[in-house]
Protein backbone atom coordinates (compact mmCIF):
# COMPACT_ATOMS: atom_id res chain seq x y z
CA UNK A 1 0.00 0.00 0.00
CA UNK A 2 2.87 2.34 0.65
CA UNK A 3 4.54 3.91 -2.30
CA UNK A 4 8.26 3.38 -1.91
CA UNK A 5 10.57 6.24 -2.84
CA UNK A 6 12.91 5.85 -5.77
CA UNK A 7 16.23 4.51 -4.58
CA UNK A 8 18.71 7.30 -5.06
CA UNK A 9 21.57 5.35 -6.52
CA UNK A 10 25.22 5.69 -5.80
CA UNK A 11 26.47 5.01 -9.33
CA UNK A 12 27.29 8.65 -9.98
CA UNK A 13 29.49 8.92 -6.90
CA UNK A 14 33.28 9.03 -7.22
CA UNK A 15 35.32 5.94 -6.42
CA UNK A 16 36.17 5.03 -2.86
CA UNK A 17 38.91 2.45 -2.49
CA UNK A 18 38.05 -0.45 -0.18
CA UNK A 19 38.96 -0.18 3.49
CA UNK A 20 38.00 1.88 6.51
CA UNK A 21 41.04 4.02 7.15
CA UNK A 22 40.70 6.54 4.31
CA UNK A 23 37.54 8.60 4.10
CA UNK A 24 37.05 10.77 0.99
CA UNK A 25 35.83 14.29 1.69
CA UNK A 26 33.19 14.28 -1.04
CA UNK A 27 31.11 12.19 1.37
CA UNK A 28 30.51 15.34 3.42
CA UNK A 29 29.71 17.70 0.57
CA UNK A 30 27.28 16.27 -1.94
CA UNK A 31 23.51 16.46 -2.09
CA UNK A 32 23.39 13.17 -4.01
CA UNK A 33 25.16 11.50 -1.08
CA UNK A 34 22.56 12.94 1.30
CA UNK A 35 19.76 11.68 -0.99
CA UNK A 36 21.26 8.19 -1.14
CA UNK A 37 21.65 8.17 2.66
CA UNK A 38 17.97 9.00 3.06
CA UNK A 39 16.89 5.98 1.02
CA UNK A 40 19.53 3.48 1.90
CA UNK A 41 20.30 4.29 5.53
CA UNK A 42 17.48 6.23 7.18
CA UNK A 43 14.67 4.54 5.23
CA UNK A 44 16.61 1.28 5.14
CA UNK A 45 16.93 -1.52 7.70
CA UNK A 46 18.46 0.73 10.36
CA UNK A 47 17.05 1.52 13.81
CA UNK A 48 16.43 5.18 14.51
CA UNK A 49 15.78 6.80 17.85
CA UNK A 50 12.42 8.63 18.00
CA UNK A 51 12.17 9.71 21.62
CA UNK A 52 11.59 8.42 25.11
CA UNK A 53 8.47 6.41 25.87
CA UNK A 54 8.18 8.69 28.91
CA UNK A 55 7.54 11.59 26.53
CA UNK A 56 4.24 10.00 25.50
CA UNK A 57 3.07 8.53 28.83
CA UNK A 58 -0.70 8.57 28.26
CA UNK A 59 -2.99 7.19 25.56
CA UNK A 60 -3.19 9.73 22.74
CA UNK A 61 0.06 11.51 23.67
CA UNK A 62 2.18 12.24 20.64
CA UNK A 63 5.43 13.97 19.72
CA UNK A 64 6.78 15.06 16.38
CA UNK A 65 10.23 13.72 15.61
CA UNK A 66 12.38 12.62 12.67
CA UNK A 67 14.08 9.70 11.05
CA UNK A 68 16.91 11.25 9.09
CA UNK A 69 15.26 14.41 7.77
CA UNK A 70 11.89 12.67 7.34
CA UNK A 71 9.24 13.97 9.74
CA UNK A 72 7.67 11.26 11.86
CA UNK A 73 4.97 11.23 14.54
CA UNK A 74 5.39 9.04 17.62
CA UNK A 75 2.04 8.28 19.31
CA UNK A 76 0.88 6.17 22.22
CA UNK A 77 -2.39 4.61 21.13
CA UNK A 78 -5.41 3.89 23.30
CA UNK A 79 -4.13 0.36 23.90
CA UNK A 80 -0.86 1.68 25.32
CA UNK A 81 1.28 0.74 22.32
CA UNK A 82 3.76 3.22 20.88
CA UNK A 83 3.23 3.76 17.15
CA UNK A 84 5.06 5.81 14.58
CA UNK A 85 4.22 6.97 11.09
CA UNK A 86 5.50 9.43 8.58
CA UNK A 87 4.12 12.92 9.18
CA UNK A 88 2.92 13.34 5.61
CA UNK A 89 -0.68 13.45 4.48
CA UNK A 90 -1.61 10.82 1.91
CA UNK A 91 -3.56 13.43 -0.03
CA UNK A 92 -1.06 16.07 -1.04
CA UNK A 93 1.76 15.80 1.43
CA UNK A 94 1.02 18.33 4.16
CA UNK A 95 2.23 17.69 7.69
CA UNK A 96 -0.51 15.83 9.55
CA UNK A 97 0.57 16.85 13.07
CA UNK A 98 1.64 20.47 13.28
CA UNK A 99 2.41 20.89 16.99
CA UNK A 100 5.59 19.62 18.68
CA UNK A 101 3.52 17.51 21.00
CA UNK A 102 -0.04 17.00 22.16
CA UNK A 103 -2.77 14.50 22.79
CA UNK A 104 -5.17 13.28 20.14
CA UNK A 105 -7.77 10.57 19.53
CA UNK A 106 -7.27 11.05 15.81
CA UNK A 107 -5.39 13.36 13.48
CA UNK A 108 -7.08 15.52 10.87
CA UNK A 109 -4.93 17.18 8.23
CA UNK A 110 -5.63 20.92 8.35
CA UNK A 111 -5.48 21.27 4.58
CA UNK A 112 -8.50 19.20 3.45
CA UNK A 113 -9.32 17.28 6.63
CA UNK A 114 -8.26 13.79 5.61
CA UNK A 115 -8.27 12.00 8.93
CA UNK A 116 -6.01 9.36 10.46
CA UNK A 117 -6.23 7.21 13.57
CA UNK A 118 -3.49 6.91 16.18
CA UNK A 119 -1.77 4.21 14.14
CA UNK A 120 -1.55 6.51 11.13
CA UNK A 121 -4.26 4.68 9.18
CA UNK A 122 -6.38 6.86 6.89
CA UNK A 123 -9.95 6.64 8.16
CA UNK A 124 -11.85 9.30 6.30
CA UNK A 125 -11.67 11.62 3.33
CA UNK A 126 -13.70 14.82 3.55
CA UNK A 127 -16.42 14.98 0.89
CA UNK A 128 -15.33 11.59 -0.44
CA UNK A 129 -18.76 11.20 -2.05
CA UNK A 130 -18.97 14.85 -3.04
CA UNK A 131 -22.01 17.01 -2.36
CA UNK A 132 -25.41 16.06 -3.75
CA UNK A 133 -23.80 13.64 -6.11
CA UNK A 134 -21.45 16.25 -7.48
CA UNK A 135 -17.68 16.06 -7.18
CA UNK A 136 -15.97 13.76 -4.72
CA UNK A 137 -13.43 11.02 -5.20
CA UNK A 138 -13.76 8.43 -7.98
CA UNK A 139 -15.96 5.46 -7.03
CA UNK A 140 -13.03 3.05 -7.15
CA UNK A 141 -10.96 5.11 -4.70
CA UNK A 142 -9.96 2.69 -1.94
CA UNK A 143 -9.14 4.42 1.30
CA UNK A 144 -7.22 1.32 2.49
CA UNK A 145 -4.67 1.76 -0.27
CA UNK A 146 -3.52 5.13 1.03
CA UNK A 147 -1.76 6.46 4.09
CA UNK A 148 1.58 7.64 5.37
CA UNK A 149 4.29 5.03 5.77
CA UNK A 150 4.19 3.26 9.11
CA UNK A 151 7.33 2.37 11.00
CA UNK A 152 8.30 -0.74 12.88
CA UNK A 153 8.83 0.02 16.58
CA UNK A 154 11.10 -1.41 19.26
CA UNK A 155 11.49 -0.09 22.79
CA UNK A 156 14.57 -0.70 24.93
CA UNK A 157 14.71 0.68 28.48
CA UNK A 158 12.15 3.31 27.53
CA UNK A 159 14.07 4.39 24.42
CA UNK A 160 11.82 4.22 21.38
CA UNK A 161 13.50 3.16 18.14
CA UNK A 162 11.85 2.81 14.74
CA UNK A 163 12.63 1.45 11.31
CA UNK A 164 11.02 2.20 7.95
CA UNK A 165 12.02 -1.30 6.92
CA UNK A 166 9.67 -3.84 8.46
CA UNK A 167 12.20 -6.55 7.65
CA UNK A 168 14.87 -4.93 9.86
CA UNK A 169 16.48 -7.40 12.29
CA UNK A 170 15.18 -7.12 15.86
CA UNK A 171 16.66 -4.13 17.72
CA UNK A 172 18.55 -6.21 20.28
CA UNK A 173 20.16 -8.23 17.54
CA UNK A 174 21.06 -5.01 15.69
CA UNK A 175 22.73 -3.66 18.84
CA UNK A 176 24.37 -6.85 20.05
CA UNK A 177 24.52 -8.13 23.61
CA UNK A 178 27.36 -5.90 24.83
CA UNK A 179 25.65 -2.69 23.68
CA UNK A 180 22.29 -3.74 25.12
CA UNK A 181 23.96 -4.38 28.48
CA UNK A 182 25.55 -0.92 28.39
CA UNK A 183 22.17 0.69 27.70
CA UNK A 184 20.63 -1.21 30.59
CA UNK A 185 23.37 -0.18 33.03
CA UNK A 186 22.33 3.46 32.60
CA UNK A 187 18.61 2.95 33.17
CA UNK A 188 18.67 0.19 35.79
CA UNK A 189 14.95 -0.33 35.41
CA UNK A 190 14.09 3.24 36.40
CA UNK A 191 11.55 5.53 34.72
CA UNK A 192 13.14 8.40 32.79
CA UNK A 193 12.00 11.92 33.56
CA UNK A 194 12.69 14.71 31.07
CA UNK A 195 14.71 17.62 32.45
CA UNK A 196 15.06 19.68 29.29
CA UNK A 197 15.26 19.67 25.50
CA UNK A 198 17.64 21.74 23.42
CA UNK A 199 18.41 21.85 19.73
CA UNK A 200 21.95 22.65 18.66
CA UNK A 201 22.41 23.73 15.06
CA UNK A 202 25.63 22.25 13.71
CA UNK A 203 27.40 23.90 10.77
CA UNK A 204 28.51 20.58 9.35
CA UNK A 205 27.51 17.30 7.76
CA UNK A 206 25.89 14.91 10.25
CA UNK A 207 28.58 12.29 9.68
CA UNK A 208 31.27 14.59 11.05
CA UNK A 209 29.34 14.64 14.32
CA UNK A 210 28.85 10.86 14.12
CA UNK A 211 32.63 10.57 13.82
CA UNK A 212 33.25 12.99 16.69
CA UNK A 213 30.96 11.00 18.97
CA UNK A 214 32.93 7.84 18.26
CA UNK A 215 36.30 9.58 18.50
CA UNK A 216 37.86 8.65 21.82
CA UNK A 217 41.24 9.92 20.62
CA UNK A 218 40.31 13.61 20.81
CA UNK A 219 38.73 13.67 24.26
CA UNK A 220 41.73 14.51 26.42
CA UNK A 221 43.29 16.70 23.72
CA UNK A 222 40.42 18.94 22.62
CA UNK A 223 38.50 19.15 25.87
CA UNK A 224 40.66 20.91 28.41
CA UNK A 225 38.15 21.61 31.15
CA UNK A 226 39.10 18.67 33.35
CA UNK A 227 42.82 19.17 32.80
CA UNK A 228 42.76 22.91 33.40
CA UNK A 229 40.97 22.52 36.69
CA UNK A 230 43.23 19.60 37.61
CA UNK A 231 40.31 17.36 38.10
CA UNK A 232 41.89 14.09 38.94
CA UNK A 233 41.95 11.76 35.96
CA UNK A 234 44.98 9.71 37.03
CA UNK A 235 44.42 6.01 36.98
CA UNK A 236 41.62 6.35 34.48
CA UNK A 237 41.06 3.11 32.70
CA UNK A 238 38.76 2.69 29.81
CA UNK A 239 38.03 0.99 26.54
CA UNK A 240 36.05 0.79 23.36
CA UNK A 241 33.37 -1.68 22.38
CA UNK A 242 32.43 -1.87 18.70
CA UNK A 243 29.54 -4.13 17.73
CA UNK A 244 29.43 -6.75 14.96
CA UNK A 245 28.36 -4.42 12.13
CA UNK A 246 30.51 -1.59 13.43
CA UNK A 247 27.80 1.05 13.63
CA UNK A 248 27.19 0.91 17.36
CA UNK A 249 29.84 1.60 19.94
CA UNK A 250 30.54 2.29 23.57
CA UNK A 251 33.47 4.32 24.81
CA UNK A 252 33.90 4.23 28.56
CA UNK A 253 36.30 5.22 31.25
CA UNK A 254 36.34 4.71 34.94
CA UNK A 255 37.98 6.04 37.98
CA UNK A 256 39.89 3.07 39.30
CA UNK A 257 40.54 4.61 42.66
CA UNK A 258 39.05 2.43 45.35
CA UNK A 259 36.21 4.66 46.37
CA UNK A 260 35.82 8.21 45.26
CA UNK A 261 34.57 10.40 48.03
CA UNK A 262 32.67 13.57 47.33
CA UNK A 263 35.87 15.54 47.72
CA UNK A 264 37.75 13.44 45.22
CA UNK A 265 35.01 14.27 42.75
CA UNK A 266 35.64 17.94 43.07
CA UNK A 267 39.13 16.76 42.22
CA UNK A 268 41.09 19.77 43.31
CA UNK A 269 44.77 19.64 44.00
CA UNK A 270 46.19 22.09 46.47
CA UNK A 271 48.95 23.19 44.11
CA UNK A 272 46.89 23.76 40.97
CA UNK A 273 46.80 27.14 39.31
CA UNK A 274 43.11 26.99 38.60
CA UNK A 275 40.51 25.62 40.90
CA UNK A 276 36.79 25.54 40.70
CA UNK A 277 35.48 28.38 42.83
CA UNK A 278 32.37 26.27 43.36
CA UNK A 279 33.37 22.59 43.47
CA UNK A 280 29.77 21.49 44.02
CA UNK A 281 29.51 21.53 40.22
CA UNK A 282 30.98 18.04 40.13
CA UNK A 283 29.87 16.69 43.45
CA UNK A 284 27.99 13.62 42.34
CA UNK A 285 26.27 10.66 43.88
CA UNK A 286 26.87 6.97 43.55
CA UNK A 287 24.37 5.94 40.92
CA UNK A 288 25.63 3.03 38.89
CA UNK A 289 26.70 -0.36 40.08
CA UNK A 290 30.20 0.07 38.73
CA UNK A 291 32.93 2.69 38.69
CA UNK A 292 32.30 3.92 35.15
CA UNK A 293 32.29 7.72 35.24
CA UNK A 294 31.90 8.30 31.53
CA UNK A 295 30.08 6.28 28.92
CA UNK A 296 29.26 7.41 25.40
CA UNK A 297 27.15 4.97 23.43
CA UNK A 298 26.12 5.33 19.81
CA UNK A 299 23.62 3.52 17.64
CA UNK A 300 23.97 3.72 13.88
CA UNK A 301 23.02 5.97 12.27
CA UNK A 302 22.06 8.90 14.45
CA UNK A 303 21.65 8.13 18.15
CA UNK A 304 23.82 8.79 21.19
CA UNK A 305 23.28 7.94 24.85
CA UNK A 306 25.56 9.79 27.20
CA UNK A 307 26.53 9.40 30.84
CA UNK A 308 29.05 11.87 32.19
CA UNK A 309 29.10 11.13 35.90
CA UNK A 310 25.44 11.86 36.79
CA UNK A 311 24.70 13.95 33.70
CA UNK A 312 22.50 11.89 31.40
CA UNK A 313 21.28 12.78 27.94
CA UNK A 314 20.24 11.33 24.65
CA UNK A 315 21.11 13.02 21.38
CA UNK A 316 19.37 12.59 18.05
CA UNK A 317 21.01 13.72 14.85
CA UNK A 318 18.87 15.13 12.06
CA UNK A 319 20.67 15.87 8.78
CA UNK A 320 19.77 19.19 7.15
CA UNK A 321 21.43 18.89 3.78
CA UNK A 322 25.10 18.16 3.13
CA UNK A 323 26.52 20.86 5.39
CA UNK A 324 24.08 21.30 8.27
CA UNK A 325 22.61 19.13 10.97
CA UNK A 326 20.34 19.57 13.96
CA UNK A 327 21.38 17.89 17.16
CA UNK A 328 18.43 17.34 19.47
CA UNK A 329 19.46 16.92 23.10
CA UNK A 330 17.14 15.53 25.72
CA UNK A 331 18.45 15.84 29.28
CA UNK A 332 16.92 13.38 31.68
CA UNK A 333 16.93 11.96 35.16
CA UNK A 334 14.52 9.51 36.74
CA UNK A 335 11.18 9.65 38.50
CA UNK A 336 12.95 7.85 41.35
CA UNK A 337 15.46 10.70 41.88
CA UNK A 338 15.41 12.71 45.11
CA UNK A 339 15.25 16.53 44.74
CA UNK A 340 18.94 16.63 45.74
CA UNK A 341 19.82 14.17 43.00
CA UNK A 342 17.89 16.22 40.47
CA UNK A 343 19.87 19.27 41.50
CA UNK A 344 23.13 17.36 41.00
CA UNK A 345 22.02 16.49 37.47
CA UNK A 346 21.08 20.09 36.73
CA UNK A 347 24.47 21.32 37.92
CA UNK A 348 26.34 18.66 35.98
CA UNK A 349 24.30 19.55 32.89
CA UNK A 350 26.77 22.44 32.63
CA UNK A 351 29.19 19.88 31.22
CA UNK A 352 27.04 19.10 28.18
CA UNK A 353 25.15 20.78 25.37
CA UNK A 354 26.02 23.66 23.11
CA UNK A 355 27.47 25.61 26.04
CA UNK A 356 28.84 22.62 27.92
CA UNK A 357 32.21 22.80 29.66
CA UNK A 358 33.24 19.58 27.94
CA UNK A 359 31.04 19.43 24.87
CA UNK A 360 31.31 23.02 23.72
CA UNK A 361 34.30 22.14 21.56
CA UNK A 362 32.47 19.36 19.73
CA UNK A 363 30.15 22.02 18.38
CA UNK A 364 32.91 23.82 16.53
CA UNK A 365 35.32 21.14 15.29
CA UNK A 366 32.75 19.78 12.84
CA UNK A 367 32.47 23.25 11.35
CA UNK A 368 36.26 23.53 11.21
CA UNK A 369 36.39 20.31 9.18
CA UNK A 370 33.48 21.32 6.94
CA UNK A 371 35.26 24.60 6.12
CA UNK A 372 38.70 23.01 5.98
CA UNK A 373 37.72 20.52 3.29
CA UNK A 374 35.93 23.10 1.10
CA UNK A 375 38.41 22.68 -1.73
CA UNK A 376 39.31 19.04 -1.16
CA UNK A 377 36.53 16.81 -2.46
CA UNK A 378 39.14 14.49 -3.96
CA UNK A 379 41.28 14.30 -0.82
CA UNK A 380 40.71 12.02 2.15
CA UNK A 381 40.81 11.84 5.91
CA UNK A 382 43.13 9.36 7.64
CA UNK A 383 41.73 7.01 10.25
CA UNK A 384 44.62 4.81 11.26
CA UNK A 385 44.99 5.29 15.00
CA UNK A 386 44.83 1.84 16.52
CA UNK A 387 45.07 0.02 13.20
CA UNK A 388 42.81 -0.47 10.20
CA UNK A 389 40.02 -2.55 11.66
CA UNK A 390 36.87 -1.82 13.59
CA UNK A 391 37.46 -4.00 16.60
CA UNK A 392 36.90 -3.53 20.34
CA UNK A 393 40.02 -2.25 22.08
CA UNK A 394 41.29 -1.68 25.60
CA UNK A 395 42.94 1.58 24.60
CA UNK A 396 41.03 4.72 23.90
CA UNK A 397 43.88 6.08 21.80
CA UNK A 398 42.25 4.60 18.76
CA UNK A 399 39.92 5.46 15.92
CA UNK A 400 38.50 1.97 15.87
CA UNK A 401 34.92 2.97 16.59
CA UNK A 402 34.98 5.63 13.86
CA UNK A 403 36.10 2.94 11.44
CA UNK A 404 33.17 0.95 12.78
CA UNK A 405 30.82 3.73 11.71
CA UNK A 406 32.24 3.64 8.20
CA UNK A 407 32.02 -0.13 8.09
CA UNK A 408 28.29 0.06 8.80
CA UNK A 409 27.95 3.03 6.45
CA UNK A 410 29.60 1.29 3.51
CA UNK A 411 27.49 -1.81 4.03
CA UNK A 412 24.25 0.17 4.23
CA UNK A 413 25.07 2.40 1.27
CA UNK A 414 26.49 -0.41 -0.84
CA UNK A 415 29.60 1.61 -1.62
Amino acid sequence: MNDQPADHGTDALPDWAPGLSRIPYWLFQRQDVADAERTRIFHGPSWNYLGLAAEVPNPGDYRCTWVGDTPVVMVRDDHGEVRAWENRCAHRGALIAVENQGNAKSFACVYHAWTYDQAGTLTSVAFQKGIKGQGGMPRDFDICQHGPRKLKIAVLCGLVFASFDHAAVPLEEYLGEAIVARVQRVFLGRTPKILGRFTQVLPNNWKLYAENTRDSYHASILHLFFTTFKINRLGMKGGIIVNHHGGCHVSWSSNTQPKASADDYSGLRADSGYQLADPTLLRGFDEFRDDVTLQILSVFPGFILQQIQNALAVRQMVPRGPDKADLHWTYFGFEEDTPEQTEVRLKMANLMGTGGFISMEDGCVGGFVQRGIAGAADQQALLMMGGHDADSQDSRVTESSIRGFWKAYRAAMGI
Binding site: Y274, D278, T354
Partner: protein
Protein backbone atom coordinates in the same frame (compact mmCIF):
# COMPACT_ATOMS: atom_id res chain seq x y z
CA UNK B 1 16.89 57.09 41.59
CA UNK B 2 13.67 55.20 40.93
CA UNK B 3 13.67 51.42 40.63
CA UNK B 4 13.16 51.50 36.91
CA UNK B 5 16.24 53.62 36.33
CA UNK B 6 18.35 51.64 38.80
CA UNK B 7 17.54 48.38 37.04
CA UNK B 8 17.99 49.78 33.55
CA UNK B 9 21.39 51.16 34.52
CA UNK B 10 22.53 47.86 36.00
CA UNK B 11 21.43 46.02 32.87
CA UNK B 12 23.25 48.41 30.61
CA UNK B 13 26.45 48.10 32.63
CA UNK B 14 26.20 44.34 32.70
CA UNK B 15 25.63 43.91 28.97
CA UNK B 16 28.53 46.25 28.32
CA UNK B 17 30.81 43.89 30.28
CA UNK B 18 29.92 40.98 28.06
CA UNK B 19 30.01 42.88 24.78
CA UNK B 20 33.25 44.72 25.51
CA UNK B 21 35.09 41.63 26.69
CA UNK B 22 35.20 42.58 30.35
CA UNK B 23 33.90 39.17 31.30
CA UNK B 24 35.75 39.04 34.61
CA UNK B 25 33.53 41.85 35.91
CA UNK B 26 30.30 40.15 34.89
CA UNK B 27 29.79 37.99 38.04
CA UNK B 28 29.97 41.16 40.17
CA UNK B 29 26.44 42.00 39.08
CA UNK B 30 25.10 38.97 40.95
CA UNK B 31 24.54 38.18 44.61
CA UNK B 32 26.67 35.52 46.27
CA UNK B 33 23.92 32.90 46.22
CA UNK B 34 22.43 33.85 42.87
CA UNK B 35 20.75 31.66 40.31
CA UNK B 36 21.56 32.14 36.61
CA UNK B 37 20.04 30.01 33.90
CA UNK B 38 19.81 30.12 30.13
CA UNK B 39 16.81 28.22 28.83
CA UNK B 40 14.29 28.35 26.00
CA UNK B 41 10.65 29.36 25.89
CA UNK B 42 9.66 25.77 25.19
CA UNK B 43 11.39 24.43 28.31
CA UNK B 44 10.20 27.36 30.38
CA UNK B 45 6.58 26.86 29.32
CA UNK B 46 6.70 23.12 29.97
CA UNK B 47 8.35 23.66 33.34
CA UNK B 48 11.44 21.65 32.36
CA UNK B 49 14.19 22.75 34.76
CA UNK B 50 17.46 22.19 32.85
CA UNK B 51 19.51 25.03 31.42
CA UNK B 52 22.19 25.49 28.80
CA UNK B 53 24.19 27.40 31.38
CA UNK B 54 23.03 26.94 34.92
CA UNK B 55 24.82 28.51 37.84
CA UNK B 56 23.68 28.01 41.40
CA UNK B 57 26.08 30.59 42.89
CA UNK B 58 28.20 33.56 41.91
CA UNK B 59 31.23 31.27 42.26
CA UNK B 60 29.84 29.16 39.42
CA UNK B 61 29.66 32.25 37.23
CA UNK B 62 33.30 32.89 38.07
CA UNK B 63 34.08 29.31 37.03
CA UNK B 64 32.27 29.90 33.74
CA UNK B 65 34.51 32.82 32.96
CA UNK B 66 37.68 31.06 34.08
CA UNK B 67 36.78 28.11 31.87
CA UNK B 68 36.13 30.39 28.90
CA UNK B 69 39.45 32.11 29.39
CA UNK B 70 41.60 29.10 30.29
CA UNK B 71 40.03 25.88 29.18
CA UNK B 72 37.34 26.02 26.53
CA UNK B 73 38.02 26.22 22.84
CA UNK B 74 35.55 28.18 20.78
CA UNK B 75 35.64 30.30 17.72
CA UNK B 76 36.52 33.92 18.40
CA UNK B 77 33.31 35.88 18.64
CA UNK B 78 31.67 39.01 19.86
CA UNK B 79 28.16 39.82 21.07
CA UNK B 80 26.24 43.04 20.80
CA UNK B 81 23.32 43.21 23.23
CA UNK B 82 20.35 45.43 22.52
CA UNK B 83 18.32 45.56 25.70
CA UNK B 84 14.79 46.90 25.97
CA UNK B 85 13.33 48.73 28.91
CA UNK B 86 12.59 46.69 32.02
CA UNK B 87 9.01 46.10 33.01
CA UNK B 88 8.73 46.05 36.80
CA UNK B 89 6.49 43.12 37.65
CA UNK B 90 6.34 42.87 41.42
CA UNK B 91 7.96 43.67 44.72
CA UNK B 92 8.48 40.65 46.94
CA UNK B 93 7.74 40.65 50.68
CA UNK B 94 11.47 40.94 51.36
CA UNK B 95 11.71 44.05 49.19
CA UNK B 96 13.35 42.39 46.20
CA UNK B 97 12.00 43.39 42.81
CA UNK B 98 10.99 41.26 39.84
CA UNK B 99 11.42 42.58 36.34
CA UNK B 100 11.18 41.39 32.78
CA UNK B 101 13.33 42.83 30.02
CA UNK B 102 13.45 41.94 26.31
CA UNK B 103 16.82 41.50 24.65
CA UNK B 104 18.34 40.83 21.29
CA UNK B 105 21.89 39.56 20.83
CA UNK B 106 23.80 39.83 17.59
CA UNK B 107 26.88 37.66 17.21
CA UNK B 108 29.89 38.52 15.11
CA UNK B 109 32.08 35.54 14.27
CA UNK B 110 35.75 35.48 13.39
CA UNK B 111 35.06 35.37 9.66
CA UNK B 112 33.05 38.54 9.96
CA UNK B 113 29.44 37.45 9.60
CA UNK B 114 26.97 39.32 11.76
CA UNK B 115 24.12 37.03 12.78
CA UNK B 116 21.03 37.45 14.87
CA UNK B 117 22.04 34.95 17.56
CA UNK B 118 19.32 35.13 20.18
CA UNK B 119 16.23 37.02 21.22
CA UNK B 120 14.32 36.57 24.44
CA UNK B 121 13.68 38.09 27.81
CA UNK B 122 15.42 38.32 31.13
CA UNK B 123 13.27 37.27 34.06
CA UNK B 124 15.10 38.93 36.92
CA UNK B 125 14.95 39.20 40.67
CA UNK B 126 16.82 42.25 41.94
CA UNK B 127 18.31 43.01 45.28
CA UNK B 128 18.17 46.81 45.41
CA UNK B 129 19.20 47.17 49.04
CA UNK B 130 22.90 47.85 48.54
CA UNK B 131 24.95 50.40 46.70
CA UNK B 132 24.50 48.62 43.37
CA UNK B 133 21.52 46.72 42.07
CA UNK B 134 22.41 43.02 42.24
CA UNK B 135 20.79 40.08 40.52
CA UNK B 136 19.59 37.41 42.89
CA UNK B 137 18.15 35.54 39.96
CA UNK B 138 18.30 35.80 36.20
CA UNK B 139 16.45 33.36 33.98
CA UNK B 140 17.33 34.00 30.35
CA UNK B 141 14.42 32.72 28.30
CA UNK B 142 15.41 32.45 24.64
CA UNK B 143 12.49 32.67 22.23
CA UNK B 144 13.79 30.05 19.81
CA UNK B 145 14.34 26.42 20.70
CA UNK B 146 17.22 26.22 18.21
CA UNK B 147 20.56 27.58 19.33
CA UNK B 148 23.38 27.94 16.89
CA UNK B 149 26.37 25.85 17.84
CA UNK B 150 28.63 27.06 20.60
CA UNK B 151 26.89 29.09 23.18
CA UNK B 152 30.20 30.17 24.64
CA UNK B 153 29.61 33.61 26.13
CA UNK B 154 26.79 34.23 28.58
CA UNK B 155 23.70 35.98 27.26
Amino acid sequence: MDQHTTIARAQAAQARCIDNNLLEQWPDFFTQSCLYKITTLENHTLGLPAGLMHAFSRAMLVDRITALRQANIYERQLYRHIIGLPAILATEADGRVRSETPFLVVRILRQGETDLFATGRYLDLWDLGGENALLAERIVVCDSSRIDTQLALPL
